[in-house]
């Protein structure tokens, strides 16, 4: 069926390396063949990256984007997690709101950007709001999912040992819901990134989004690719972080008793 190499790890790295090299070569060749307005070759992109790093433009853009991401994401966690936990404990409230949370989670929040622009104009706050709205619903939705699947037997055990409300949270509710919240946070990272770039595109320009947009307007493909590369690296790094957090705290969940 599939290849069973003698030393899988080494062979794996070799193949990956070949794949990356082939991709790089392709990029370089196609870039050179076609016009500058179509695709800049890899070498030019890397040169532009170095240039941007040198002039400081890269770091400025990165810092600005990260600040936006950080503010919006932190806000979404600060609101989403406690609210989700509250719904975990209050069954009536959860039943009332869970359908609406599910609906909002399935709605493309991007559709609301024009309204936010119209109401709040340009500035940092509306962009933070956009990132917040992109990120908060997966957190809420997944936390509520966790709440819905709390095994009632465990609450029963706590009651039979006469647990106080605080101890119930510490021993049962928080440990159970935490992995679900982390799944939500991992999903929220991806969405917040989209929100960040979207805000920088469609609201007041700043950061990596602005770099990308102005390069686009001047057909500067080298900068376009450089910016895309940066954004991608940022995305990969943040999502890896999210994934690692999730795996760390969900070990006991993979094997169901």
């Amino acid at each position: 069926m599939s290849v069973r190499p003698r030393s899988p790890r080494a062979l794996g790295w070799l193949i990956t390396g070949l794949g990356l090299a082939a991709g790089a070569a392709l990029w370089e060749i196609v870039g050179r063949e076609t016009g500058a307005a179509f695709m800049a070759p890899l070498s030019e992109t890397l040169l532009r990256l170095a240039e941007l790093a040198h002039t400081g433009e890269l770091w400025q853009a990165l810092a600005s984007s990260l600040a936006l991401f950080g503010a919006g994401f932190a806000l979404s966690v600060a609101v989403g997690v406690p609210l989700g936990l509250l719904l975990a404990r209050m069954r009536l409230l959860r039943i009332a709101l869970e359908s609406y949370i599910a609906i909002l989670n399935a709605t493309p929040i991007a559709a609301l950007i024009p309204f936010i622009l119209s109401l709040m104009g340009f500035g940092f706050a509306p962009k933070v709001l956009v990132v917040f709205l992109f990120a908060v619903f997966p957190i809420l939705y997944n936390t509520v999912e966790g709440a819905r699947s709390i095994r009632p037997e465990l609450i029963e055990v706590a009651r039979s040992f006469r647990s106080t409300e605080r101890a119930l949270w510490r021993d049962v509710l928080l440990p159970f819901v935490l992995p679900f919240a982390l799944t939500g946070i991992r999903q929220a990272i991806g969405r917040a990134l989209v929100g960040m770039i979207a805000a920088e595109f469609f609201l007041s320009a700043s950061g990596l989004g602005m770099m990308l947009q102005s390069a686009s307007q001047s057909f500067d493909t080298a900068t376009i690719f450089a910016a895309i590369l940066l954004v991608t690296l940022l995305g990969v790094a943040l999502m890896e972080l999210g994934g690692a957090l999730e795996r760390r705290y969900a070990a006991w969940r993979n094997i169901r008793t």
Binding site: M1, W13, P114, T232
Partner: protein
């Protein structure tokens, strides 16, 4: 007399819940409260052009009937479905190849992970450069948006096929492609459905932001245009349609999962 019903007696608010009668009533009640808050809040504090439930209801009939709106809805939803279909066919092929072949997996995994992590909005300048400011660019965006989540989940599914099934295939001397079609594909369906759920959501976002960027006819552009001319109530109608599409696609996938795979538990994490 389940454990749940016994414990439901004990949970806070349980008595109230029973009073409320059924969950549907509670949900509808909450919906009315939320709409009421929206209405009152806007009346009290917001300028006249801001959308409110009464305003949306007032313009709803004329918007729904207008040809402009209907063609916009058809354009956007058509692009989403078309993009999803293309992403599905390509994504399943690539994903299963990734899942079953060590070489393919190692070859392309960083590309797939990287492009999956890239926020889809960032690809817009490039796509408009290559496809122009046309519907084709929007289609390319939706395909791009949905493709990678499908690939990753198809790969997960293909990788997770239980060995026992493959053993049966071998003992019946099935050819490789038969194994793929008869065993691997059906066995990975649950993962695939999770991937489609995610891909649909992403395709929807992709279509909307593409329309913002490209200004081609569609629901996203409808929202942009109407919000700029202070016709927020009309624009909200488009948001409702998009929300409906999002919910509808997810409901479809959930139904398919429940119907065809009742044993599959949704705590397998989709990406």
């Amino acid at each position: 007399m389940t454990v749940e019903s016994r414990l439901a007696e004990a949970a806070p608010g349980a008595g109230l819940a029973r009073l409320a009668g059924s969950t549907l009533l509670v949900k509808l009640g909450a919906g009315v409260v939320l709409l009421g808050l929206w209405e009152l809040g806007v009346r009290a504090w917001a300028p006249a052009y801001v959308a409110r439930p009464s305003g949306v209801l007032a313009v709803l009939p004329e918007v729904i009937a207008s040809r402009a709106f209907l063609s916009a809805a058809a354009a956007t939803l058509g692009a989403v479905l078309e993009g999803l279909a293309i992403a599905l066919v390509l994504g399943i092929a690539v994903g299963i190849a990734m899942g079953r072949s060590f070489a393919v997996d190692r070859l392309i995994r960083y590309y797939v992970f990287g492009l999956f992590a890239m926020p889809m909005v960032a690809i817009l300048p490039l796509i408009t450069l290559w496809f122009g400011y046309t519907g084709a660019a929007r289609l390319a965006t939706t395909v791009f948006a949905a493709f990678f989540s499908i690939v990753l989940n198809a790969a997960d599914g293909a990788r997770a096929v239980p060995l026992e099934y493959l053993e049966v295939g071998r003992s019946f001397r099935a050819r490789r492609w038969r194994v793929l079609a008869d065993i691997v594909l059906p066995a990975s369906m649950p993962y695939l459905l999770a991937g489609i759920r995610l891909g649909a959501a992403r395709a929807l976002i992709g279509a909307v932001v593409a329309e913002f960027f490209i200004s081609v006819n569609g629901l996203g552009f409808f929202i942009l245009f109407n919000s700029r001319s202070f016709r927020h109530n009309q624009a909200i109608v488009a948001v409702l349609v998009l929300a409906g599409a999002g919910v509808g696609l997810e409901a479809l996938v959930n139904w398919a999962t429940r119907h065809y795979f009742p044993w599959y538990r949704r705590d397998e994490k989709p990406r």
